[in-house]
Amino acid sequence: MRFVVLGLVLLALSAGAQPILIGFQGPLTGPWAVEGDWALKSVQIAVELVNARGGILGRPIQLVVEDDNGTPKGGTLAAQKLIAAGVKFVVGTYGSMVCMPSSELYEEEGVLHINYGCTRVDLSARGFKYYFRTSGRDDSQARFFVEYVIPLFGAKRIAVMHDNTAYALGVAEDVLRFMKPLLDEGKVELVYYDAIMPGERDYTPALTALRDANPDIWYYTGYYPEWALLLRQGKDLGLDWKKIKAVGSNACPISETVKIAGLDAVVGAMITQEPLPAFLVEKYPLAKEFVTAYEAKYGPIHDSPWATYAADAIFTLYFAIEATQSFDPAVVADYLRSGVVVGEGITGPLSFSPEGDRLGVPYMLLICNEAGETELFDPAVHGRLVGM
């Protein structure tokens, strides 16, 4: 009898707790439908985890999902639809150009908008109050290379190589921009900065010039087909990846590189990469919880960093609303802007700059081990591969 009463009381309590609406805007159809699907599933898992903890301030989260078709037009319609549904907090979306017009609508309506898959730098330069992103920016990778990878190896002589495509050139230029103070103080030296021509078969001249420059570390910001050829031909030329630390960009997945270049040329080569869920589980307990729940429901975890950032947007809201004890987007936005670490999410500590950018965006240094597998770089384990 007592249990029945308790059950009734609990039922009454849960019925009394009105659900808090959180909007999800993503490309469920269109060219990026796969990313949208992964992001939605990840967000749903995050919502389940939060609800299992008793919801936000005792109120369960109810997700309102709108498709934006991966187009700017679809973005504005989805945003209007979410605003019309009375949503005060929105997670979304993938693609900077889709995000731009929708985030303006959210800003006008005072809806707190946490972005998960838009990396355009100037998105956060618009002076918005309600705009945040859990992902990094286009220049986060370059920043990670300069502020983490270079000191890690104590490198003095730096080589940067790109292939003149918009992406690779952008990363290379950002590396120079972040490295400028170090260069001015004479702490490092830029011994090689040049472009190769993508699509060629023989990169020996470029590699000879690289060898003559005698760098400590060599950052290639282009794509994997050329990266694989460079590693192969560099190895054949007698370059030693223990002496010259070879680091590729996130467009150089190790598994693909090994297929083209052969294992012996790639062992010890590294890449800079956004955090993939498979590597996060070793670092953060919440990531483990998230991946376990995800795999139990949907099968093997996706390898998209963006979908994980989407789930982290839900946790950001959870931590921030719990901390401020307020469902007022303005209060929550002020709190997030203060720069405090609101909590530890799936991708690490969640904190934001006054502009709404994610602070300390976690990038990862991955390395190809002797078996050709991709591993998180650990000096103790992999030091000998790169001559540390």
């Binding site: 504005t76 605003i83 017009p101």
Partner: protein, 326 residues
């Protein structure tokens, strides 16, 4: 009484038609005052696609030129506004005619060498044109188009000191232009040019034999259609406050093609109805989430199956003449 004159009177002054038009206008004007912001925005897109559809209707509906690259002219108009406003600071609304002119000029240059192509050959070339324009925009010629990132920071249009910003403002702007264009095109339909266009559509060789300047009239259709797309581009750029190549995909060209075919070739009210369906279907189908484009396709296929001539086909003068005689 001259049967043609009688038909004109019959058509123009039929009280039922007038009543219907008045009802439709009353609905259009009052809608933003009782519809939600979301539905007003949807109404805006109906107007925008009606504008694009009306432009393509001139080319495809009136003259029968298979143009599957109409999004290219839309893109050119939008980028003209974006570049001239964001880079050179010209006021957005003043760029409306400029966008139309730029798109029309580009259409004239682009379509001059291909205008003699017929049927599916023209279709293939226009598909290529649409893609080429999009790729050129991505490749960022002269650093003007901003590559895949597009152009951002377009000012809001200002009309007589009133800043156009809310969905309602844009709704009235676009529908005022639709009304203006629809009226102009209706007058054109009944002019010598309109009749010559239809003649070309029905039998090009006969038209040429009767002294119709086929090439010039086809070019005129292309230029006029592109100008309307350019106007739509200006409004789209102003509404989004940014343009990027992924707004102007082949799918958009296909949608415009659908609008004209769904509504009925050469029919102005049909085109507006077609635009309404193409915009409304995916919105109504939101509850089925990721399957909505599938259902959208099914709905389009079903419509074409049951109404192969379009939902609101243009009534031909001939039929009325026959009625008037008997």
């Amino acid at each position: 009484m001259n049967p043609l004159k009688k038909w004109r009177e019959l058509r123009t002054w039929a009280p039922l038609r007038l009543a219907f038009l008045a009802l439709f206008l009353a609905f259009l004007v009052s809608f933003p005052f009782w519809g939600s912001r979301y539905w007003v925005d949807v109404g805006f897109y109906v107007g925008l696609y009606a504008l694009l559809g009306l432009g393509l209707n001139v080319i495809l509906g009136e003259v029968g030129l298979f143009n599957l690259g109409h999004a290219a002219f839309w893109a050119i108009g939008a980028y003209a506004t974006a570049i001239l406003n964001a880079r050179f600071g010209l006021p957005t609304l003043a760029l409306l005619p400029v966008s139309a002119l730029v798109a029309a000029g580009c259409a004239w240059i682009i379509s001059s060498p291909i205008i003699h192509l017929r049927g599916d050959y023209l279709c293939i070339v226009t598909i290529a044109l649409g893609e080429i324009v999009r790729l050129v925009l991505i490749n960022n010629p002269g650093g003007l188009t901003g590559g895949p990132n597009g152009v951002v920071g377009i000012d809001r249009p200002v009309f007589l000191g009133h800043v156009i910003r809310t969905p309602m403002d844009f709704y009235f702007l676009v529908w005022a232009l639709v009304a203006l264009c629809a009226f102009g095109l209706r007058q054109l339909q009944r002019s010598r040019i309109g009749r010559a266009w239809n003649y070309i559509r029905e039998d090009e060789i006969a038209a040429e034999a009767m002294g119709v300047d086929v090439r010039a009239l086809k070019l005129l259709a292309f230029v006029l259609g592109a100008a309307l797309a350019g106007i739509a581009g200006n409004i789209f750029a102003a509404k989004m406050r940014m343009v990027s190549p992924d707004s102007f995909t082949f799918l958009e060209s296909c949608l415009m093609f659908c609008i004209v075919l769904l509504g009925g070739m050469g029919s102005i009210p049909g085109t507006i109805l077609g635009a309404a369906l193409v915009v409304l279907f995916p919105e109504i189908l939101r509850p089925v989430a990721q399957y909505r484009l599938l259902f959208f396709g099914l709905a389009l296929a079903a419509t074409m199956y049951f109404r192969p001539g379009g939902l609101w086909p243009r009534r031909r003068a001939v039929e009325f003449l026959r009625e008037a005689k008997s």
